[in-house]
Structure formats: C-alpha cells, structure tokens
Subunit: 135 residues, 2 copies
DNA sequence: TTTCTTGCAAAACATTTGCAAATCG
DNA sequence: CGATTTGCAAATGTTTTGCAAGAAA
C-alpha cells in the first residue's frame, strides 16, 4: 500500500522495538536494544528508519524535555506526562476542552492545527516512596 | 538580593538582548546580536549566562520544536504557539481549565507540577498571504 | 585570598549527510 | 537495470566542560 520503500529487516526490527517498549525509547535506547537482539545497525540507518517510520505514521516522534527525541508506537492522539522524580513518561488521553482551544485561537489569531502538551509531576509510585532525588 | 553571583557586564548584555527581543531568540541568535553590538563573548560564557539568568528566574528557557533552545524574557506563566508557515513564535496566555487538569491528575495518578504546551498553527499574517512555504 | 566568572578550546551528544556498496523489484 | 536502502565515517549544530587567567568581594 505504501508507495515508497518497504519494511526492511532493519525497519521492522526497529518498529518492533518501539512497539514493544512501554518507555518511549530514544534512538540510543533503540540501538542498545538492537544490540541485545544481535543486530548491529549503523547509527545512520537507525535514524533513517525512525524517520521513515515516523513519516509513515507507524510511530510518533516526541520531543519532551531532554535533548534526545523519544519514540512512541501509540499513534492515537495523546499527550505525555513526565515524572520529575524517576523520569518515567506516561500517556495522557484526556483531550483538551474545545472551548479552551477556541479561546486560544481567538486570543492569538492563529488557526490551530496541532498541539503538544508535556506535563510534569510526581508519579503514583514516587508519591509513595519518599525518595526525592532523580534516579 | 540574589545570594550568588551578580549581573556582570556579559550577563546584563545578554539579559538586555533577550528582554528587548520579541522573537524568542536562540543562543546563536543572542551571540549574533551581541556581535552587532560590538560584544564578542565566548560561546561558553553565553550558555553560562543564559543558564544563570534562567536559574535566577529572569528569563525562561523554551524547548519548542526545533533543536535549539529559545529564550523568553516573559517569565509569567504562559505557553507558546508556533506558526507552521513562517516559524514565528507567539505567546498564549489563556490558562488551561482547572477541571481538565484535575481529570488528567486522576487519569494518570500524577501530582501535576508543571505544564508546557506548544501549539502549532497558521498565524494571522500567514493566513492572509497565500504563501505556503516556510521562509 | 577566596570565590566567582570569563575565555578558549576541546569534548560530548544527537542527528544528518555523502558516497560507495549491497539489496530489492 | 534502476531505485531504494544500508553501512560507515565524517560533518554539523548545540551545549557542556576543563582549566588557566582575570575580576570581584
């Protein structure tokens, strides 16, 4: 169905890793996990593949707060929340109220096309444990 | 009042540039504008100063979608919207509805501490002009 | 003098690119 | 064959770091 290119071995392996991960891995994470599985793809190939998969809509690229992009196989519309204590990234599915978006469109004069929200907070597990350092 | 360090010449010059800018400059932008003003600070110094100013709460660091951080002298709580056609970054002041945040806290189990929202859309000027390329 | 800052250059990353070789259809 | 993709290494761009020299308290 897809016009150009195909799910090569490399792309499939990378898609599987992102799909099977629940922690929104970075490109480095992906490379690391590929190594564990015995694959040893070039950096360029991994980035190429991640871009390809993103362009095909099979995964999403997330720019959360760190330096490296993370990848997410859940492509449905959703947002993210990052734990400030343990660094975990979770999904947020509650959609923003339409009238708030309307208000913003009016305030700014923009025709809004897309939104990326990143929440920060303390996750349930970290609320319980009294640890207060990252890591 | 501030405990450590002070507003040195370099830091003041950089703060002035960020404060006087309406376009959320990147570190490179700042360095460029410093040069125009006859300053020629080291890269390290500019980054150090930006971090210092951020830590002091005098400016805010924004991680919008590009690669480089942008800096914003408006430190009041607000969000941003990026024009997908011309790349302009504007402010969004409409606060998210409290009950939506409550809903998210319930859904995720997190104690929300902070939010960063980035909207994308077409700005008023670009809506009018029929241009459809970036830049 | 003790502490903080600067300047400079090198290092550290994340990511992209160029090009030849390999692979796919 | 012709188009795409890979591997590799080098280049790019952003940001950090180490360290000696300079400025400030």
């Amino acid at each position: 169905m897809t016009r150009k290119g195909h799910l090569t071995v490399q792309r499939k392996a990378i898609l599987d890793i992102v799909s099977g991960a629940s922690d929104h891995p970075t490109a480095s994470d992906v490379i690391e996990r590929l190594k564990i599985q015995g694959f040893n793809f070039a950096y360029g190939t991994v980035y190429n593949s991640l871009r390809y998969l993103t362009d095909e809509g099979l995964i999403r690229e997330l720019k959360l707060d760190g330096d490296a992009s993370r990848y997410d196989a859940r492509v449905e519309e959703h947002q993210h929340i990052v734990c400030v204590k343990c660094g975990k990234v979770d999904e947020v599915f509650a959609a923003p109220p339409a009238d708030w978006l309307t208000q913003i469109a009016e305030e700014t004069g923009y025709a809004i096309e897309d939104q990326h929200f990143v929440f920060k907070g303390v996750c349930a597990a970290c609320k319980t444990s009294k640890r207060n350092t990252l890591q």
